[in-house]
Amino acid sequence: MITGHFGLAAGVKSKAPQVPLWALMFATVWLDIIFVPLFLAAIETLSAAPGVPPGYGGAIIHADYTHSLIGALILSALLGWLASIPWGRFSGMVIGLVSFSHWLLDLIVHRPDLPILPRNLFGLQRLGFGLWRFPAASAVVELAILLAGAWLYWRAALRVTGERRRGRNLATLSAALISVFGIIILTLDITGIGG
């Protein structure tokens, strides 16, 4: 799931308008950003789910640090704290929560591959409700989150611009970009184009 994360960030902007959208977008994929260098270092890995063709929703993600429950809480708290330095406590809290929302959305779609503790210490039950077993349903959920988020963002943007025509056009452009880019990312994710 990528598009759904961005959609959620756009929706949050409507409730926390003082937090920059780019920061919310960054926060929503923060766990994946940390995942990339660990993946390149082969510390965290991906493998195909047994009996499933590779592609959208077909992966088991061995991200035992970044995507463990405690790891996600720690990374989110760290990002929230960093954001609170320039922007204050409220914005920091919003950034931290948006970052942790990544884990919650992943919990819905992942097969049970999300550990509770880093490195899956003590071998506790891994978590994941497995919506990815139904790729079409998962894609529809992602699209719904994206469009709901873009719509909430658009309404909030129109509110802050008031009656100024240029501002309203900019608000519409920005919401349209969220929708179009989100749909492009979802399409690339589903088709596997772009690696």
């Binding site: 902007k13 003082q18 920059p20 977008m25 320039p86 204050g88 409220f90 802050v160 970009l177």
Partner: protein, 31 residues
């Protein structure tokens, strides 16, 4: 890798467009 670059580009472009809207300042809630 292209996918990651594309996403970063997405965030940058969106951030630029969004920053031109008159949102309240992020520094407004400093405490």
């Amino acid at each position: 890798m292209q996918f990651i670059i594309g996403m970063l580009l997405f965030v940058v472009v969106l951030g630029i467009v969004d920053s031109r809207l008159p949102w309240p300042s992020p520094k407004g809630d400093r405490n």
